[in-house]
Amino acid sequence: MRILIISLLRIGDLFMQKPLVQALKDRYPNAEIDLVVNSVSLGATRLFSDIINNVYIFSRDEYQRSAGEAHFNILAGISEIDNLIDSLSDRNYDVVYNFTHNRLSGYFAGAINARECKGLSYKNGQFSVMENPWMNYLNTCYSQKSGSIFHYTEVLANSFDLNVSKHKIRSSHKKSGLILMQCFTSEARKNWSLLNFLDLKNKIESFFPFHIVRILATEKERLELRNYFSDEYIWVADLPMSESLLKEARLFIGVDTSIKHLAALCGTPCIELALGGSDPIKTGAFIEGAISLVSEIDISVEQVFSATVNILSLNNELETKAIEQNQNLECDKWVWSQLLGGYKATVPAVPLTNASYVAKSFKLLEWQLRLENALLRDSNFKSYNAIIKEDLKDYILVAQEILKSNIDSGGYFQKLIEVLTTTDGRGNVLYLKLVEAVEISRALLVLRSEIAIGGIDVAEPRKALEIGA
C-alpha cells in the first residue's frame, strides 16, 4: 500500500501531526508512507525518518518568488508545481491524506492521481471534504476564538479515524540536570519579559544548585539575549541540535513556538507560558503532564517557578484546583467525544471530593430546564414573521448567565450562544434553531449524566432531565 500525507502548514503544525503519521504506520505497518511539506519544514522531517519513506518538497517560497520577480519566466512557478504534481501522480498512491485543510492544499490534493483522497480536495469544479462530526467540529469550533476543549491533534486524528495519545515523558529525563528555556515567539504580545526569564533562571540555580539552565536561541536572538545573559547561558542551536539537546533535557520552559512541540516529541517535560491569546488546550505541547500557564497579560515568575519545583521535585501532587480542572476537562471531552462518535474511551469517574464538578452539573441542568420550559411556552414562535429581542429575553438571560459565569467551559450551550447572535429574526427559522441548540445541550447533558460521581450513579440529574422531556 502506498500513502501520501500532505502537510503544508508550519513546522509546529507538522510536529503536532506526527502522532497521526505514527498512527497510520501502526495501522499499515507494511505501507510506504510519503510526506509532502513546505521547504521550510524539511529539517523537521528528520523526526519522521523511521516512519516515512520519501519526503517531497513544496517550494512555497520559491514559487512565490518566481511570481514576484521579473527575471523569472512568468510560468516558472506554475511549471514547477506541475512537475511536482506529475511526480507524485506517478507514484500511484492508494490514499492521499490531506492534513492541511486549506484551499491551496485542496487544489493540490485533488490534482494528484490517487485511488482515494481523505480530507479537503478540489475535483470537478468543487471542493469536497469528509463529512463526519469531527470534521464539522474542526470546521466550526476551531475557527472560533473559544469553544474547543480538544487538542488540534485529537480533533484532526478523530476526523481521519486515527487513534492517538499524548507523548509519554521519556524515563531517562530524571537523570538529567539540564533545563532548557526558549524565550522568543514571532509575536511580541506572546513573549514573556527577558527580565522574568533572568529572574527565573536565578531562582532555579539558587534552589536547584545541581541543575544548569541554558537558553536555546537563534543567532539573531542571541544579540538581544546578551543584554540579560552572559554568553555561556546562550546556546545557538538549529533544529537538529535543538532536538539533540531537548532529548537530554530534564525540563523545557518556553513560550508558544514550534520548539515546545519539538520538546513534546522528544519526551521532555514541558512548562508552557501561554500569553497574548495562545490557547494551550488547542495547540499546547501534546505530552503527558505538560503544565500550561495562561494569561492574556502576564504570568508571574513565582507561578513559573512553582511549576518548575513541581516537576523537578518529582512532585506529582498538583494543586487540588488543577486536579479538579483536569478531571472536569476530561469529563467534558468524554461527553463531546460520545456525541461526535468514534472516540473509544471508558466512562470517566469523578471523585466525591470534586465539588466543582457537582456544582457545575447542577447549574448546567438548571439552565437546560429553563430553556426547555421557555421552548414549550414559545412554540407559537413558528407563526411569527419576526421575533424581536423582547420575545427572547428568557433565552438571552440564560445566555448572559452562562457567559458571565465561565462555568460552561465545555461548550454545552455553545450552539445556543451562536443562535442568539444570529441576525435572522424570522419566527419559524429562529424557533427551529433554538430547538436544535437545546436538543444538542440536552444530548450532551444526558451523556454527562452517565459519568459516575464517587462511584455512585447520580439519579437526580437524569430524573430532572426526564421530567423536563
Partner: protein
C-alpha cells in the same frame, strides 16, 4: 601583477553581478546583453551545471560572441530559442550596463524572453493548453495575476497549478 589585479577585479565584478539576482533556482539561464565573458564565467563559478545561453541584439554585419544574436526583439518570438524558452522556462539575467543605446529594444526583448509581453504571454498560455484570443496589458509587463485572470477568462477552472498559484499570491 597589475594584470592579475585587473583580472581579479573583473572576476569580483562578475560575481557581484551574478549574486545580485539572489539564488538562481533554474538550471537554465539566459544572459541578455552584449557578450561579457566575465559574467558568463561568474555564473559558471557559482554552478558549473548552469546551461547558459547568451543573447544579444546586434545589427546584421556585427560579429558577436553571443550564442544567439537577433537584430531586433520581435525576431525572438518566432525563433528556435523560443521553443527552448517555452520548454525550459529559463531565468533571464539582464546586464543593463551592456544594453547601452539599445535599452528600449532590450527591454522589449526581456519582456518576450520572460513571457511578460502581451504576445509572449499568449504563446505561453497556449503552450499551457489555454487558448487565449488576446491579452491586454496596455503596454506594461505581465504579472502572474494577468496569467490567472487570463486563464479564468478563458473559462478554465481546473488547472490545479494555476489555482494553487492564485492562493500563493493572495
Amino acid at each position: 601583477m597589475n594584470t592579475e589585479i585587473l583580472n581579479e577585479n573583473k572576476r569580483q565584478n562578475g560575481l557581484k553581478w551574478a549574486y545580485s539576482f539572489g539564488k538562481i533556482t533554474s538550471k537554465n539561464v539566459i544572459v541578455l546583453g552584449r557578450y561579457d565573458s566575465n559574467k558568463i564565467d561568474a555564473l559558471k563559478e557559482i554552478d558549473k551545471d548552469f546551461n547558459i545561453i547568451s543573447v544579444s541584439l546586434e545589427s546584421k554585419n556585427h560579429t558577436s560572441n553571443s550564442d544567439v544574436v537577433f537584430s531586433n526583439a520581435d525576431e525572438i518570438l518566432g525563433s528556435e530559442l523560443y521553443k527552448t524558452i517555452l520548454d525550459k522556462k529559463p531565468m533571464v539575467l539582464s546586464d543593463r550596463e551592456l544594453w547601452s543605446e539599445k535599452s528600449e529594444e532590450y527591454t522589449k526583448a526581456f519582456a518576450h524572453l520572460t513571457g511578460r509581453s502581451a504576445e509572449s504571454l499568449r504563446m505561453h498560455l497556449i503552450d499551457l493548453g489555454v487558448d487565449v484570443k488576446a491579452t491586454h496589458l496596455n503596454g506594461k509587463l505581465a504579472s502572474i495575476k494577468d496569467v490567472i485572470s487570463s486563464v479564468k477568462m478563458a473559462g478554465v477552472l481546473d488547472l490545479a497549478s494555476v489555482n494553487i498559484m492564485g492562493e500563493l499570491i493572495k
